[in-house]
Amino acid sequence: MRRYFNVKNRAILREMVATDFKVRYQGSVLGYFWAILKPLFMFAVLYILFTYIAPIGKDVPHYGVGLLLGIVLWNFFSETTMIGASSVVAHGDLIRKISIPRYLVVISSSVSALINLGLSLIVVFIFTLINGITPNWSWLLLIPIILQLYALSLGMAFILATAYVKFRDITYIWEVLLQAGFYASAIIVPMKSVPIELRDWFFMNPIVQIVQDARNALVPHETNITIWNTIDNPIIRLIPLIMIVIICVVGFVYFKRRSKYFAEDI
C-alpha cells in the first residue's frame, strides 16, 4: 500500500481531485449545492410518488429516511462506476503522454464521488434528525458499510474502465444495467413488499445487503429486514461479501495486466 500511495502519487491524486472539484460546477450559480440537490430532488419525486400516489412505503417505519439513504448510496455506486468506466479514456491525453500510475485516474474519479457521498450523507443525517430519530452508536456501523460499498464500486470501476478502452459499448450496456439494478436493488420497494421466498435471492445482490445494513444502522428497528435475520446458513450469508472480494481482485488484476497497453490502445 505504501508503494501505491507515496508522496508523488498522493500529490497527483490531490491535484486531480482538486481540479475535478474546482471545475465540475464552474459557472453554475448554486455550484457544489447541485451535488446535494440532485439526489434531494430525486428523493422528493419518489417520496411523493410512493407515499401518496402508490403507497408502497406507507406502513414502513421511516420509509423516507430509508429511501433517501438508499438513493444516496445508489447514486454513489452509479457515479463511481459510470465515471470510473470512462475515466481512463477521458484522461487519454495523460495516459499517452506521461507515465503516471494508471490506477490513479480511476481512483481520483472515485474520490470525487466519495466527496459527493460525504456531502449527501450530511443531508441524510439532517433529514434523519428532523424525522425525530436520535443519534445512535449504530451510526458508526455506516463506516464499514460504506467501505464495503466503496470496495464494490471501485472493483467494478476497474473492470469497466479496462474493458471500455477496447469495447466502447460497455458504458451503454452498464447504463442499462444500472437502470435495471436501481429497481432490482430494493431502493424504492421496501424489503417487506418482496415475497419471502424471493428475499434470499435479493440478498445475493451485494447492493441489497449493503443498503439494508445501512438502513438498519441508521434507524435500528427489530422489523428491519437484513441478510443477517433472513438467511440462516452462515456460508450463504457471506456470499455478497465474497462477491465483492472477487470483483475487487478480478478488477485489480485485469486492470493491472491491461494498463501496460492503455497508451497504445486508447
Binding site: A11, R96, I98, S99, F167
Partner: protein, 390 residues
C-alpha cells in the same frame, strides 16, 4: 573513453510492435467479427532490436525521419509504452516532456495549473513550492498567475508550460521536439537553458529533427531508421548521416512518383560558380553563387523553376525564370544559415504544366552562420537573385 561513467539509461534489445488500429475491436460487433477471423491481425514492427546506453551527464540526441520509431523509443524510455521485448533500465528520477502542459486545465488559474502539471510530472507539492517562483519568473507571467488559463493567449500558455519543463529539476530530462515554441526571444532563452544544462552536466535526452541543435548541444546521438540503429556516436557524424539519408529518401520519393531525377528529357546541366567564375560548392553566408544551367531543349518549355532545399528536406526558396536560348545563368545571394543544400530544377510549359521531370542539382554548403555584409542578420532577409543571361 570514459570507463567509470555511470549509466543513466540502459536500453537492451528493445522490440516494439503495434497491432494496427483497423483490426481493433471498438465495439461488440467488431469484436464478434474479429473473434471469428482471429488471425488477420496486422502487426507493425516499430522498433526492432535497439540497444544503447545513455551515461550520466550525456546530452543525448535521438534523430530520425518521421515514422522511424524515434518517438516510440522516447515513449518507451518515459514508461508510457511497454516494450514487446527487451528491457529498459532507468537509474535515477526521470521527467519526460513528450508534450508541454500535459493535463493543463483552462478553467484553472495559472498558479493551479503549475501545481497540477508539476504533480503529474512526478513532483511533490514541496518540490513545486521550491520551483514555483523560478517558473513564474522564467515565464514572465508574474501578474497573471491568478487568472484562469483560458484568459491566457496561446503564447502565454506555451510559455508557462515550457517554463515548468525547463525549470523542472530531476536526474534525467526527456524532451520531444519541444523547442519549436515561442517567439525568437523566448527560444533564445530556452537555448541558453540548454547551454546551462550542458555546462552543468545535466543528463538530457532530446528527440529532434533539427541537426543544428544536435551539433550544438549533444554530446552523443543516435540515428534511428526503420526501427533500427543506423548510426550512434559523435553528434556531427550522426547529423551528417541523417542529412545524407534524407537526400537518398528524397531521390527515392521522386522515383516512386515516376519523376526522373538527373537524367530527364530536359538534358539539363547545373553548375555552381563563385564570383571568380570558379566551380565550387562551398560558399560563405551571403556570398553570390552563380547557378549556370545549360539545356538542349529537346522538349518545349517556357520557364524553369529553381528550388533550393536544405538537405533535411526543408524548402528554402524558389523562383521561376523564363528561358530562350540554351543557356541560363542566375546569381543567388546566399542568405542561408550554415548547412548543406541542394537545388531542384523543373521545366514549365506554356500551359503552366511541369514537363520532362525534375533535375537534381549538386549539393552546396554554406560554411558560415552570418553574412559578411550584414552583421546584424537574423535569417529573415529574402533571397536575392538576378538573371544574368538567357
Amino acid at each position: 573513453m570514459a570507463e567509470n561513467k555511470e549509466i543513466a539509461i540502459s536500453i537492451k534489445d528493445i522490440h516494439k510492435e503495434f497491432i494496427l488500429p483497423q483490426n481493433k475491436s471498438n465495439s461488440l460487433k467488431q469484436l464478434a467479427v474479429n473473434m471469428v477471423r482471429r488471425n488477420n491481425k496486422t502487426v507493425q514492427k516499430v522498433l526492432d532490436g535497439v540497444s544503447f546506453d545513455v551515461e550520466k551527464g550525456d546530452f543525448f540526441g535521438i534523430v530520425g525521419r518521421n515514422g522511424s520509431g524515434k518517438s516510440t523509443l522516447l515513449k518507451l524510455i518515459a514508461g508510457v509504452y511497454s516494450p514487446t521485448e527487451g528491457a529498459i533500465g532507468v537509474n535515477g528520477g526521470l521527467t519526460p516532456f513528450i508534450e508541454l502542459g500535459v493535463g493543463f486545465n483552462t478553467e484553472l488559474s495559472g498558479h493551479d495549473n503549475v501545481y497540477l502539471n508539476g504533480a503529474l510530472l512526478g513532483f511533490s507539492r514541496k518540490q513545486m513550492d521550491a520551483m514555483y517562483d523560478e517558473i513564474v519568473e522564467f515565464a514572465e507571467l508574474g501578474p497573471y498567475m491568478d487568472q484562469k488559463l483560458k484568459n491566457y493567449s496561446s503564447g502565454m500558455q506555451v510559455r508557462l508550460a515550457f517554463s515548468i519543463a525547463i525549470k523542472s529539476k530531476n536526474d534525467i530530462l526527456l524532451f520531444d521536439e519541444v523547442l519549436a515554441v515561442g517567439d525568437e526571444a523566448f527560444q533564445r532563452k530556452c537555448l541558453d537553458v540548454f547551454e546551462q544544462y550542458k555546462a552543468e552536466g545535466q543528463t538530457v535526452v532530446l528527440v529532434t529533427h533539427d541537426m543544428e541543435t544536435v551539433r550544438k548541444f549533444c554530446t552523443r546521438a543516435v540515428l534511428i531508421n526503420d526501427g533500427k540503429i543506423l548510426k550512434i556516436g559523435h553528434p556531427h557524424e550522426v547529423a551528417n548521416t541523417y542529412s545524407e539519408l534524407n537526400l537518398v529518401e528524397i531521390e527515392r520519393d521522386m522515383e516512386n512518383k515516376n519523376v526522373k531525377v538527373s537524367d530527364s528529357a530536359l538534358g539539363l546541366n547545373i553548375i555552381y560558380r563563385n564570383t571568380e567564375n570558379t566551380k565550387t560548392s562551398a560558399y560563405k553566408c551571403g556570398d553570390t553563387m552563380k547557378v549556370a544551367i545549360d539545356y538542349e531543349k529537346k522538349i518545349d518549355f517556357q520557364n524553369l523553376v529553381i528550388n533550393v532545399y536544405k538537405l533535411s528536406g526543408e524548402h528554402i526558396t524558389g523562383f521561376r525564370v523564363p528561358v530562350e536560348s540554351g543557356k541560363l545563368e542566375v546569381e543567388i545571394k546566399t542568405y542561408f544559415a550554415r548547412g548543406k543544400y541542394y537545388s531542384l530544377v523543373q521545366a514549365i510549359d506554356s500551359e503552366d504544366r511541369a514537363v520532362g521531370g525534375v533535375v537534381l542539382g549538386p549539393e552546396f554548403i554554406i560554411t558560415t552562420d552570418r553574412p559578411t555584409d550584414r552583421p546584424g542578420w537574423s535569417g529573415l532577409v529574402p533571397v536575392e537573385y538576378k538573371i544574368v543571361k538567357y
